[in-house]
Amino acid sequence: MSPGFTQTDFLSIMPEMLIFGMGLVVLLFDLFGQGRSTRNLAYLTLLTLGAAGYLDVMLLGQFLPGFGGSVIADDFSIAFELVFLVVCALTVLISIRYLEDRGLNHGEYYALLLFATGGMMVMASGRDLLMIFIGLEILSISSYILCGFLQQDRRSNESALKYFLLGAFATGFLLYGIMLIYGATGSIALQDIRAALADPATFQNPYIWMGLGMLLVGWSFKIALVPFHMWTPDVYEGAPTAVTAFLSTGPKAACFAALVRILFEALAATRAEWQQVFWVLAALTMTVGNVLALHQDNIKRMLAYSSISHAGYILVALVAGGEEALAGVIFYALAYTLMNTGAFAVLILSSAGDRERVNFSDYAGFGYLEPALGAAMFVFMLSLAGIPLTAGFAGKFQIFKAVVGQGYIWLAVIGVLNSVVSIYYYLRISVVMYMQPATGDSISTRPPGSVPLYVAIVGSLAGVLYLGIFPGGWLEMSLHSVSRIITGG
């Protein structure tokens, strides 16, 4: 490769460069603006995300491999990048009030969110295993720190340490997998690995299979698939609530983006094998996540288990693996982001001021004390449960339709049964909200100054309803963006 870079090289990583650069700017502003409110930094972050979104939309429809093919700006990466930008924007909106309540006026928080988002974008646009790995590490390290951001809170510290130790362990597996695949094929570029696997001698090489196994273990840890999910509830419960909302949506979507790219672009030849593994993992993940969620009294913990089972639904799409199913992955990533972050936004808004309100019993009579918020929460729960006219239904419908179309009837049956079970615990909060009398401990007043939170709630609510009633636009874009992944072009 010649040392000169072309315009295409830089175009292909424009959004990532903007995000990383502005992350540094936010850090600098924080340094020189000591003592002032960090609200301005939050707004600067939002502005950055908007600009990156604009760049992404400009790049739509292009096919720009950059830096010797190690990154690419294609519709697949851009669709996921837009999801990550939405995740990050919603997280910023719900964090402002949360941090102020706890006296945490630290701009580093927003810088770390930007870095994590940049890491996710690198994961989605990386086209060799090295780039994907570096993106994952940037994301992971930022996430570990964000988990421990409540320095004085023991649970937050526990969450950060647990996430760090288990995440590092998972990284080890991932690296072993990458190493073995590199050893067997002589390349880290996804396209070259695909080409090498066309040779039957390479295909029968046990290193490939060992590497594939290690890769699957590593990614399963990061996505929290059962039986690699043990860390999830503790980490999600201990982390600051706004960070929990981020962790349960963004990183999972990013890991799925990278996983789809690796499995379908590089390891497509081994599909028959990993399909079977994922069949079992998907069935286990959906079922165990749901069953454990049934018994939770803490809503944060309930949502943690529910995020496990939602990862299971997305995994079902990977088993099916057609164009429609992969479009379902992208569709569901956005739908889950909106409904999950919306639910967390309501939790944060009602916890504003004095203390965290994250138990079911805290919400007795909430539907009458706060009719609008109660209704919003109700819609988010309906969507998470997958009731028609919400984004959650449209996503599940897309995935299960594709799965049945590919002939995986039993997996679809398990998925639908799980959806039915999940209605119980999602609607339990509505029952508490509307059918139990308010106690003296219930939420009655809300402090002023939470406009960003309202924006987040209204925005996610609108998104959930829009995707539920008019799924066409985003679905079409998802379908369009995965077509090249399937053909491997």
């Binding site: 830096f67 690198v122 720190i145 002589g186 001698a201 090489n205």
Partner: protein, 177 residues
């Protein structure tokens, strides 16, 4: 050549095991130094003296000194040693570990197992051009993007370390206890 590899490899594995098995953190850290030095030796056997030197400088040198500093500062010695007991998850874990070891042995001995095609960086090529030049050239052309993005990774780690370790005075909005 092969014999020196086996000796170094055995020492490296021994060092790694003693990192896990020693009770005292200082001993663990020193065993890790031994492992790193053996790895450096293996790099030399593979004709990449430059990587070996970097390995010694950065891992066995800088990082280990940092480890030892942290261990001394935290004064971990006063902690009670962890109790070892044979619970069923532990036995299950050992069982799986043994199974994986046997599987690995089977894989490395299987006739189908072979390395992928060799790249252009043969020993002669390295000796002719010089290892440092080759590493530098590759790092700043082919892998310049990962190289630059890793700097973001380090930046995040540094910022994170400061955030987690810094003792903060209560912010202005919070009343002092």
């Amino acid at each position: 050549m092969l014999i020196s590899f086996y000796i170094l490899a055995a020492l490296a594995v021994g060092g790694a095991l003693s990192v896990v098995l020693f009770r005292s953190p200082v001993y663990c850290a020193l065993s890790l130094v031994a492992t790193f030095l053996c790895l450096a030796g293996i790099y030399v056997l593979l004709n990449s003296e430059f990587v070996a030197a970097i390995q010694v400088l950065i891992y066995a040198g800088a990082i280990m000194v940092l480890f030892l500093f942290v261990i001394m500062l935290l004064n971990l010695r006063s902690d009670k040693p962890l109790r070892h007991s044979w619970t069923w998850p532990k036995l299950l874990g050992i069982g799986f570990a043994v199974a994986i070891i046997f599987q690995l042995i089977g894989i490395f001995h299987s006739p189908a197992a072979r390395m992928g095609p060799a790249g252009k960086y043969s020993t002669e090529y390295l000796q002719q051009k010089g290892a440092v030049e080759v590493v530098g050239e590759v790092l700043f052309t082919e892998y310049v993007l990962p190289f630059e993005i890793i700097s973001i990774l380090l930046m995040v780690a540094v910022v994170g370390a400061v955030i987690l370790a810094k003792r903060r005075e209560p912010a202005s909005t919070e009343q002092t206890p």
